[in-house]
Amino acid sequence: MKPAQGLHLKTSILILIMVSVAPLGDMFLGKGMKRIGALPGWTPSELFDFFFRAFTSGTIWLGIGLLLAFFVAYLVVLSWADYSYVLPASSLSSFIVALLARFVLHESVAPTRWVGISLICLGVFVVGHTHPRTTEP
């Protein structure tokens, strides 16, 4: 395998892990925060109460656990790949989040939003066909 192919392969595997666990984490965070209710205000006591309720929720911690797994994969891939490559390439998770929001959280997703999400995926595809690393290791 050529070095460039190897670089693309290991980058793709890490990004696949990222776009698999991050949307699940996001979904659990969304579900947990909806149960907690809207941010009541910006006073210190309101903020404390809001985040206290957030961080005593099991659903939130499940989301955080999945996002920590995402974070480790993210740091590893950033050790060789460009930030301006990884960031848009991992936005495929937006599409998966929308699917989970629609079919698991039963949110209504307007057609315009689906078109937007499809464009995000198209942009990811275009970015994904550039070289992952443009700086010297």
Binding site: P23, D26, M27, L29, G30, K31, M33, K34, G37, A38, L39, W42, F51, I60, V72, L75, V76, L78, S79, W80, D82, Y83, S84, Y85, V86, L87, P88, S91, S94, V97, A98, L100, A101, L105, E107, S108, V109, A110, P111, T112, R113, V115, G116, I117, S118, L119, I120, C121, L122, G123, V124, F125, V126, V127, G128, H129, T130, T134, T135, P137
Partner: protein
């Protein structure tokens, strides 16, 4: 509306700046070539020894708290696609601060992503 704007700003700006600091920290550590758990743990331990890592973590934590706040008032199907605006901010930052070579194709991809974000933001829904 103002609350949403403040939260959105905090997600995009400190969140993206934090990720750039993290990218800088990881580039300084060097490429990960050994994927065994203890080797990855050792690399992460080395990353934690850099100041860029902690600056990044602080900024990303700010973005994360703002994200939790945003999720309490808006739908998941809006919040996460809308935060893709950070891709444009991140690409600009990658070029300006991390000296990455952003070619025409990558710019086109990022602009398409941003157009998609715009449609997600103006799409009906909470």
């Amino acid at each position: 509306m103002l609350t949403r704007f403040i939260l959105y700003f905090l997600i995009i700006v400190p969140g993206t700046a934090g990720e750039m600091c993290m990218s800088h920290a990881m580039k300084k550590i060097g490429e990960v070539t050994d994927f065994r758990p203890h080797s990855i743990a050792r690399v992460l331990g080395r990353a934690m020894g850099t100041s860029w890592f902690w600056i990044g973590i602080t900024m990303m934590a700010t973005g994360f708290f703002a994200l939790l706040g945003m999720l309490s008032v808006a739908n998941v199907s809006f919040v996460f696609p809308a935060t893709a605006l950070s891709y444009a901010v991140g690409t600009l930052g990658g070029k300006a601060f991390l000296k990455e070579q952003v070619g025409t194709q990558r710019w086109v991809g990022v602009l398409v992503v941003c157009l998609g974000v715009l449609l997600v933001a103006i799409g009906k829904g909470k």
